[in-house]
């Protein structure tokens, strides 16, 4: 009989296959008295189980291919680390000794005491880590019971229904050729979900009583987008999902093959697609996406990781890593967009970003020196946030000169860096012509531009529905900036969120932008939009959208543009 179950789906995954049940969790742990003389042997038994569990995990890890799975291996590493947790393991052995009981019982007690500590954690992602503890303990219990590790028998082409799955189990299933999995516990924050998303394994988590409701050999469909598991579906549903799965696979292959293709419109206009990053660790995603460079490296992360400002050398290390990592591709680094001191009434309008930097050069100079030093290693550009006039840009240029002199005096290698301004304040957009002449390039920051122009705080859920990049005022300011840049012959890029939204791609290119910087995860989708569009057609339509009286009309025309 057809049955529909619901849980947390991993988006994008579709599987149609017969069900197999995963290994049952080791339930029946009972307390067993151990005579004093047997306690050392019991402790040794526990340690052997730890070693066995470790070997099993390392075996799975060793079979993972190096490329592309480093994040996933890290999950196994964290389980391995937990197996070696001296405080936890010493506690288990101490408990076993104190109660003269078996290792299993002591382990359960210690686990429960640890798990109760998790219950008071508010952050959902961190609270979900209690699942890891449960899974590691399960593995130790299984090792203590001597049960074998191959719970993935017969999983080839099947959907595994299990109580809970840890990273190693998911990997084993993947290796065994499982079509997907359903678990009773866990959710979006589980490691299993993260690995499933990364390896594109169709999965649904948190389906209560799944094992009781879904029997082995039942045919099931996993729909990751909706979170539904269809058990014993009818022919029509099966056909429907077969089509969807085929289309999704085609799309994915097409996107991947897009990485090395040039980003150019159908009528040959080249569009530069760059990436926004926050730390050197983001470089892997940047390379995977095939970005042409870094359009914005936000440096706040460096500054907010501690209570004192990071010194020049620390900053230089980070910037150098990024410049080196980009191997000759251009890197644009934004000077610190510092948060205002707490307690100010209107932080968005207060002493922040370049204002604070210019007021306290001691804050800005070390950063500028670090940037110039990194510029000696590759093409580096400096970008200043929240500019309202060319005077600010000139002041930063003066500081850059000062920094260069200081470095010369100290005999430290450095090179010149081009200087650009972020246009994110309405005043800057309206006077972009004059600002452009004082800079080497302009970068439109639509996130803040929309907020300031429409006087909307996008983090305030009472008004965030008013935040609309398609408001005529915003589009006009963007267009003004592009024109100013063109007239002054300075390149203009856009690095707000809409740069990474394929819905806006045609409009932005149509308005005259040929440089967009976005989160690397969105780059290939945007590139796809670029390769499908006609720049000449986009220009005509963009003019019409610019002339719209309201955002509603603009949205309609935009949808039309995207359909065409």
């Amino acid at each position: 009989m057809p049955l529909m179950l619901h849980g947390i789906g991993v988006p994008g995954g579709i599987a149609i296959a017969r069900v197999r049940h995963g290994r049952d969790p080791v339930h029946a742990v009972t307390e067993r008295a151990v005579p004093r003389s047997g306690l050392p042997a019991e402790a040794a038994r526990y340690r052997r189980a730890l070693a066995l569990a470790g070997r099993q995990l390392r075996a799975v890890r060793a079979r993972m291919p190096r490329a592309g799975a480093t994040g996933v291996r890290a999950f196994i590493d964290s389980h391995l680390m937990m197996l070696r947790d001296p405080v936890f393991n010493d506690a288990v052995i101490d408990l076993s000794r104190a109660r003269a009981c078996n290792a299993e019982w002591a382990l359960i007690l210690q686990r429960d005491s640890l798990l109760s500590a998790f219950d008071r954690i508010e952050d959902p992602y961190l609270r979900a880590r209690r699942e890891e503890v449960g899974l590691v303990v399960e593995r130790i219990l299984a090792a203590l019971a001597g049960t074998s590790d191959d719970g993935d028998d017969g999983m080839d082409g099947a959907i595994c229904v299990a109580h809970a799955l840890g990273p190693a189990e998911v990997l084993q299933l993947h290796e065994a050729g499982a079509a997907g999995f359903v678990t009773e516990s866990g959710g979006a924050h589980s490691h299993a979900a993260i690995i499933a998303r990364s390896l594109r394994i169709p999965a649904i988590l948190g389906v209560r009583d799944a094992r009781a409701l879904v029997r082995a050999e039942d045919l099931a469909i996993i729909d990751g987008d909706s979170g539904f598991v269809f058990v014993s579906p009818d022919e029509r549903s099966v056909a429907h999902y077969r089509t969807r799965r085929r289309d999704a696979d085609r799309r994915r292959t097409a996107l991947r093959s897009l990485r090395d293709k040039p980003a150019a419109t159908r009528d040959g206009l080249a569009v530069e697609l760059l990436a926004n990053i926050e730390r050197p660790g983001d470089l892997r995603a940047v390379r995977d996406a095939g970005a042409a460079g870094i359009g914005m490296y936000r440096t706040e992360v460096l500054f907010f990781s501690r209570t004192e400002q990071p010194d020049e050398d620390e900053q230089y290390a980070a910037y150098a890593k990024v410049v080196d990592g980009m191997r000759g591709a251009p890197v644009t680094i934004r000077t610190v967009d510092a948060s205002p001191s707490p307690g100010s009434e209107n932080p968005a309008l207060g002493l922040r970003a370049i204002r604070q930097g210019l007021r306290d050069p001691a804050l800005l100079l070390p950063q500028l020196r670090a940037l110039l030093r990194a510029a000696a290693r590759g093409p580096l550009m400096v970008m200043v946030p929240m500019v309202t006039g060319s005077a600010e840009v000139r002041q930063v240029r003066d500081l850059l000169t000062q920094a260069a002199v200081e470095l010369d005096d100290a005999g430290i290698r450095h090179a010149q860096a081009r200087l650009g301004a972020m246009i994110e304040v309405p005043a800057a957009a309206l006077t972009a012509a004059s600002i452009a002449r004082s800079t080497d390039f302009l970068a439109i920051g639509t996130n803040d531009l929309v907020q300031y122009t429409l006087a909307v705080d996008r983090d305030n859920d009472e008004v965030d529905h008013l935040y609309d990049p398609l408001h005529p005022a915003v589009l006009k300011l963007v267009a003004l900036t592009i024109t100013a840049g063109r007239r002054a012959r300075r390149p203009v890029s856009l690095c707000g969120e809409i740069a990474g939204d394929p819905r806006y791609t045609r409009l932005l290119v149509g308005l005259g932008l040929t440089r967009l910087s976005m989160h690397p995860a969105h780059l290939l989708e945007v590139k796809d939009a670029v390769t499908r569009m006609d720049a000449e057609d986009a220009r005509k339509r963009a003019l019409r959208i610019l002339a719209c009286r309201d955002a509603r009309r603009a949205a309609d025309l935009l949808d039309e543009m995207n359909r065409g």
């Binding site: 994040g71 890290a74 937990m82 405080v87 890891e132 730390r279 990781s305 501690r306």
Partner: protein, 108 residues
């Protein structure tokens, strides 16, 4: 968690105040990296977050600290190589444990 079996060395502890910057906080992977780093040194390492305290060598204890993004933690090291240990741990936390978007459920 139970107390460490050994008495702390008599030297004064060095401390550093840090802020957790990676989006998902001190979850399993950062906690493991933290412990892996701490293990390279002989110093005893303790981490406090608000009123909670954890042994820097225990992944499980660090997880129960629930140090989310933005949380201030104090790392304290006591022993011969305390300064080096602190430096190394500082660098790790500062770099956000190189925690990329892989762990972010919201990321496509």
């Amino acid at each position: 968690m139970t107390n460490s079996r050994h008495d702390p060395a008599p030297e004064v502890a060095l401390t550093r105040d840090l802020v957790i910057v990676n989006a998902n906080g001190l979850h399993a992977r950062p906690a493991s990296l933290f412990v892996a780093t701490a293990r390279r040194f002989r110093a005893d390492i303790t981490v406090t977050c608000e009123d909670r305290r954890a042994d820097g060598r225990s992944v499980m204890a660090l997880l129960t600290l629930a140090a989310a993004e933005g949380c201030r933690i104090t790392v304290s090291a006591r022993g011969d190589d305390a300064a080096d240990a602190l430096s190394a741990i500082c660098a790790l936390v500062t770099e956000g444990f190189d925690d990329t978007a892989l762990g972010d459920p919201a990321c496509p």
